[in-house]
Amino acid sequence: MIAVLGLLVGVLLGLFLEPSVPLALQPYLPIAVVAALDATFGALRALLDGIFDDRVFVISFVSNVLVAALIVYLGDQLGVGSQLSTGVVVVLGIRIFSNVAAIRRKLLHA
C-alpha cells in the first residue's frame, strides 16, 4: 500500500514541482529511470514468487541505478557515451521484458 502511495506521491511531486534538471545530469536521468524500473519489475516478480525481500530490493535498486549511470559516465569520458547509453538501455529493456513475461506467466498459470 505504502509502495503504491509512494509511487503516486513521487510522480505528483515531479509534475508539480517541475524542477529543471542540471545540464550535466540530463543524459543520465533516463538511464537511471530505466535501471530503477528494471529493479522494480524484478521486485514485483519476486513478490509474486513469494520471495520478496525489501533489503534485496533496495540494493538492486540503488546498485542498478549507480552501475548504469557509472557505465554511461565512463563511456562519456571514453567518447562512446551514446553507444554505451544505447547498450545499457537495450539490456535493461530486455530484462524488463523478461521480468514482465515472468510476471504474466505467474499471474495466468499456476
Partner: protein, 276 residues
Amino acid sequence: MSLSPPDPRPAPPHADASRELLARLTRPDDDDEYAAADRGGPSSRVGLATATAALAVLLTVAAVQTQAAQPQDERDREVLLERLAREKTEVAVLGARAESTAAEVEELRASTLEATETVQALQAQLDTQGATVGSAPVRGPGVRVVVDDSDDGAPEGTITDSDLQQLVNGLWKAGAEAITVNGQRLTTLSAIRTAGQAITVNYRSLTPPYTVAAIGDPETLPARLLETAAGQMFSDLSINFGVQFEVEAASELGLPAGSRLELDVATASTKGGDGA
C-alpha cells in the same frame, strides 16, 4: 522454483552459444539474490554500509567536479545550439532558394522551347517574303535575256535606260518572279536610270552587254515576253538597228539578294487597306 524451467526441446548445437548469451542477458540477476535471501543467507549490514558510503563519496566528488564545470559547459552548449539553429535555417534558406531557382530554370527552358518555334516560323516568313521582295537570294528555272548595243555604235542602236525599263516591265508582265540586271537584283526600291553615259541599276553603273535573268516558268516566259510591247520593241530594234536581243530558257538560275532594302521614312500603318 524461481529459475525459469529448462527448455524441454533439444536445442540445435550451433545455436547453443547464442542461446546461452541471450539467456544470460535476459535472466534477471536479482533472481539469485532473492533466492539466496529467501533461503536465509547472511546479510551483511556492514558491507552494505561500506559500499553505500564509498559510493556516496564517489558521487559527491563527481558531482562537485561537474558542478564546477557547469557554467562553461552551459556556455559551450549554448554556442553549439546557436550554431545548430543557424545552420539549420541556412540550409532551409538555401533549399528554398534552390527550389525557386530551379523553377525559374524550368520556366526559362520552357520559354526557350516555345521561342524556337517562333524563330522558325519567323524565319520561314522572312524567306517567303524575301523571295518576292529581293532580300533573299533565290534560285530556280526561268529565262535569260541578253541585250547589247549594236556593233556600229549608232545612237539608235544604243540601249537606253528606258529600253531596259521596258524590258523589265515586260518580263514582270510575262510572269517573272525575280529579276536581276547584270547581277543587280530588282527590289521595290531599285531604279533603272542613267548617270552620264552608263545605265545604273541600284546606283551601280553597268556596261553592256546587259544580262537580264528572270526566274519564272521557263516554258511560257519566253513566249509571253515576246508578246509584250517590250518584246516587240526589242525585236524591232534587233531587226532594224542591230541591237542584240537573245532570249533563252534556263533550267537553273541563281539570283543574289538585293542591296537596296532600307526604309528611311515609311512606317507600317495600323489602318487597313481602304483608300484614305
